[in-house]
Subunit: 322 residues, 2 copies
C-alpha cells in the first residue's frame, strides 16, 4: 500500500461489497505504518454503522480434526444458498510469508473460488492482543461489506481460543474420535468455552467410534457450566469429507441465534464484548508502555521475588514509590 | 496502633511464636496509614527468611456446607497432635465491624481457645487485590511465627477463590449433598481449581445422599483437567460434626504434599505464585493510577464503545494518543 488510500472510494467499495476494496481496507487496518493510522481510524468510524449484521462463528480444534475441510463444507453449503461467507483466522504464531493457516488457499480450493466467499489469512504479529484486535476490525469490515456469516478460525496457540470466543457469537470445537479418554486431546479450559462440540470424520470405519466419542462429549458437557447463559452445549457428529451432518450443525447454530436473540443474551453479549475488548486493549497498551519504560527494573524485582529474596510489597515499593 | 511499632521487639516476638506479637504484626501490615508503610516493609523483609515452612491449604464451599465446623474439626485434630494451626480468611465483602467471616470466633469456640491455634478474620477492604495481598502477608507472618498448617478460607465473593488458590498449595472445595444435579450448587469455574472435593454432613439420614454425591463428583472430576500438574483430584465424604472422615482428608493433603514435593511441582509452583502475585499487583496498581488520572474520559469512551458509536481503535487513540 504505497499510495495514500482514497477513503471515500474505499468506503463506497466496501458498502458495494467489492472484494478488492474489502481486501484493501483490511490491509489498511492491519498496517502498522504510522501514516496509515489516521485513515484506518477514519475508515472504521465510517463503516461502524454498517456493522453487526453477520452471524459470527468461532472455530477451533485439535490439529488433524479437519478444520479446513469442515469450513469448506459448511462454507460451500451456505454459499450455495446465496449466503455470503467470510473466513478469517487468529493465529499469533503465523507470519504472512510462513506456513500461515488459511494462507494456503488451496486448502479450501472450491470455497476460495466461490463468488460469495471471502477468505483472509491471519494477520501477522507476535502479540495475540494485536493479532486479535486486527482480526476483529477485519470482521467488522466484512460485515460492512454485507457478509452474512463470518467464520473465525484459530489453531489454538496460547490463549487464542479465548480471543476468538470474545469476538464471536457461537463457538464450535471440532474434534475427532480419540483413544477412549476423549478429554486427553483437548486443551485445558477450551471445552468450557464451547457452545457445541462436533466430532468430525464420522465416516467409513470411523463412524462408530465417532458416535461413541459424541456420547462421551455429551456427558462431559453435562458436567460443565454452559459458557453462554441459557444455552446447553450440544455434541454432534459429522463427516465434512462427505458433507454429512453439516446441515445439522448449521441448524444448531441458527437455533442458537434465534433462542438467544429472543432472550436478549445475543445483543447483550455483543455489547459486553465491545467493552471487554476496549478494556483489555487499554490495559495491555498501558502496561506495555509501563514495561517499556521500566523493563529492566521490573525484571530484577521479579527475579528477587521469585527466589524469595524480596517480599512482594518491598519490590512494588521500590518500583512504584509512594 | 498509636505508638510507632518497636520493630526489633516485634520481630523477636514473632520468631518466638508469641501470639500477641503476631497479631500486632498483622495489624501493622494491614494498616493503610502512610506512616506504617515503611516499618511494614521492613518487617516483611526481616521475616522473609523464616517463611515457607507451612502447608498452605485453601478452603471454599457453598454457604451452609459447614466450613466453620470443618475447620474446627480439622484444626482441633491437628492441634491435638501438637501442630500449630493458623486460620485466615479472604472476604472482600466483609468489614471488621460487620458480619465478617471468622470475625465471630464463637463459630470456632474450641479452636479459638486452643493454645496451638491462631484465628484471624479477613482484612477489610473493597478491592479483592488489596484484601488478598494483606492476607498473603499475614500468611507469611504466621509461617515466621512457626505455624505448621495455614488454612485460608473464603466465602467465594467475586474471584476470591482464585485469589486463595494462588496463595495456597492445596485447594479444598467443601460441599454438601444437593438435589441430584450436584453441579448446580457450585460456582462456575471453581470446581476446576480444586485438588479435592469433600462432601460434608455425611451423617445420620444424610449419609447415603452424601455418598451418592461423592460418586457424582468423582465423575465430574474425571472429566476435568487437573489444576495441579500430576495430581488427580479426589472426592471424599466426611462428617465434621461427628469428626468422621477428617483424618482421611488430612492424609490426602499430606499425600499431596509428599507426592508434589518429590516431583518438584510443590516448590516450582510456590515460586510461580510469587511472581504471579507480584505481576498482578503491579498491573493493578499501574492500572489504578491510570484510571485515577483518566477515569472520566475512560468512562465516556467505554460507553461510546458499548453502544456501538465509536470503534475501539478510535476510542483508544483518543485516550492514549500516538
Amino acid at each position: 500500500m504505497r499510495k495514500p488510500p482514497d477513503l471515500p472510494k474505499l468506503i463506497a467499495g466496501i458498502r458495494a461489497s467489492d472484494r478488492a476494496s474489502l481486501a484493501q481496507a483490511i490491509t489498511l487496518v492491519e498496517s502498522r505504518a504510522p501514516k496509515h493510522r489516521a485513515p484506518a481510524r477514519e475508515l472504521m468510524q465510517a463503516i461502524l454503522p454498517n456493522t453487526g449484521g453477520a452471524l459470527r462463528v468461532g472455530l477451533t480444534g485439535t490439529p488433524g480434526a479437519g478444520k479446513s475441510t469442515f469450513i469448506e463444507a459448511l462454507g460451500m453449503m451456505l454459499c450455495g444458498r446465496g449466503k455470503k461467507v467470510a473466513v478469517l483466522a487468529v493465529d499469533p504464531s503465523s507470519s504472512r510469508t510462513g506456513g500461515s493457516i488459511l494462507g494456503d488457499k488451496t486448502r479450501m480450493e472450491d470455497l476460495a473460488r466461490h463468488e460469495n466467499a471471502f477468505i483472509r489469512p491471519s494477520p501477522s504479529g507476535n502479540s495475540l492482543g494485536g493479532v486479535a484486535a486486527r482480526t476483529r476490525e477485519a470482521l467488522l469490515l466484512c460485515e460492512a461489506a454485507g457478509y452474512d456469516v463470518i467464520l473465525v478460525e484459530t489453531v489454538g496457540v496460547g490463549q487464542s481460543e479465548t480471543a476468538v470466543r470474545t469476538m464471536t457469537d457461537f463457538f464450535l470445537l471440532l474434534q475427532i474420535a480419540g483413544a477412549g479418554d476423549e478429554l486427553q486431546g483437548i486443551k485445558k479450559g477450551v471445552i468450557e468455552l464451547a457452545d457445541a462440540i462436533v466430532v468430525n470424520k464420522a465416516d467409513g470405519d470411523n463412524k462408530m467410534r465417532a458416535k461413541l466419542a459424541k456420547v462421551e462429549y455429551t456427558k462431559v458437557l453435562h458436567f460443565l457450566h454452559p459458557f453462554t447463559p441459557g444455552w446447553k452445549p450440544k455434541a454432534l457428529t459429522c463427516s465434512a469429507l462427505n458433507c454429512e451432518g453439516i446441515e445439522r450443525v448449521w441448524q444448531l447454530i441458527e437455533g442458537f441465534r434465534d433462542q438467544l436473540t429472543e432472550s436478549g443474551v445475543f445483543e447483550a453479549r455483543r455489547r459486553e464484548q465491545n467493552v471487554d475488548w476496549f478494556d483489555s486493549l487499554l490495559q495491555s497498551i498501558v502496561m506495555e508502555r509501563y514495561r517499556a519504560e521500566h523493563g529492566q527494573q521490573i525484571q530484577r524485582m521479579a527475579t528477587a521475588v521469585k527466589d524469595g529474596q524480596m517480599p512482594v510489597s518491598v519490590a512494588l515499593d521500590a518500583l512504584l514509590g509512594d
